[in-house]
Subunit: 213 residues, 2 copies
DNA sequence: GACAGCATGTAATGAGTTACATGATTAA
DNA sequence: TTAATCATGTAACTCATTACATGCTGTC
């Protein structure tokens, strides 16, 4: 409890959250991060090896080394202090979400490149969204078939996955529309009829009015 | 062109993209990043002060110092090398997008906290989405009134903003639904009727089938 | 017995963040 | 003339990434 103790990061709490269910080896933690958290808290694997060490240093987790042949495998488990920290953190307001999309940056500055480049970038965006939707669908089907690995967490997972699914849907639909729209342009710098573009915005706003009021 | 030259990051290209339009002072760059890029490439302001220096070091931009009272103000502009680099980058495939949502991490591990905590977190998520929608609506209305500051970029901005808007909409709708759903739970750990939860997933899938096939 | 892929890490480096500092300008 | 806020940065720190390394295990 020294005052020099570092603050835990969201990544710390993500690991703690996993440890709250049961002890995990680092590799299992990495696999689990890749399978699920990766959609809303992506981190490189090496981080998943580093973070538990920090948790142990702070007294939030315990490490036990099991030999596997000539190598060691470290299995981490949670301490009461870790559990308290997790509970406290869950009561705090979440930070603002953060989206990083290189495809949108490229779109924003597309005027400095060719129309073909922009279309290729949008198509890539579309593929990424479609890949995500495919992965989510596979998970959904596990649930429908009753083969989900953590049935006691289904209520939480359904809520979370629903957002991810709908986001992927919106991105896909948008990508199709955007590709068609850009396809109508002469090039990336010539502005098409302003009236039509403004109408797109008004329609977007309008859909909302209908659905909320 | 020394081989020790560092690679440019997406942030570098974002700044280059702005410089492609005209010279900017660092403060203006920061303001512009805050106003627009922030939605899909959020960066701390200090970064916006550091990045142009790296661009200058690499020969991608030029800095000119203008005194303002006893202080200096640095104005950056683009070099031909910078313009070439930007064009080349636009032709490359965009990296995978990346979403970081602490609210979703808290949802994923909500079983370790109270229902009240989870609801508070979801409400915060909702507020964040609503704030974003409000900001976007204000920008939209500028366009509708014909008061947008860069009318020559309207075709690009309309495409980009439409995605941001629809994403905000989905998040809002989801948040409302999620708050209602969690409201029906006894607590964060008791699993409600599995059948109903699975139906939610099936319906999500179903909406898609209808709209695409 | 070799090869692919799974499992388990370490090291170096750097982009980005937070925190701090202070001059200029405007409104009250 | 304050006070607030706009404008303009610097410094320290660290989380996270990329790149590397190597043991284990099943299979052909």
């Amino acid at each position: 409890m020294s005052s020099t103790e570092r603050e835990l990061t969201t990544t710390s709490y993500a690991i703690l959250g996993l440890l709250a269910a049961r002890p995990w080896s680092t590799y299992e933690l990495a696999a689990q991060m890749r399978r699920n958290l990766h959609y809303f808290w992506p981190r490189a694997e090496s981080n998943v090896y580093a973070e538990p060490k920090r948790l142990v240093a702070g007294g939030f987790a315990r490490a036990s080394a099991e030999p596997v042949g000539r190598r060691r495998r470290t299995v981490y488990s949670m301490t009461p202090k870790g559990r308290r920290a997790l509970r406290t953190w869950l009561a705090e307001a979440p930070a603002d979400p953060r989206l990083e999309s290189e495809a949108l940056v490229k779109l924003a500055f597309a005027g400095n490149g060719t129309k073909a480049d922009l279309l290729a970038s949008l198509r890539r965006f579309r593929e990424q969204a479609e890949a995500r939707r495919r992965e989510l669908r596979a998970i959904f089907e596990e649930y429908v078939r009753g083969e989900d690995p953590f049935p006691e967490r289904i209520h939480i997972n359904v809520v979370a996955y629903r957002l991810l699914w709908q986001t992927a849907e919106v991105e896909l639909d948008w990508a199709d529309w955007a590709i068609a729209e850009v396809g109508r342009w002469r090039d990336t710098t010539t502005t098409p009829k302003r009236g039509r573009l403004v109408r797109v915005l008004v329609e977007a706003l309008g859909e909302h009015e209908r659905s909320t009021f």
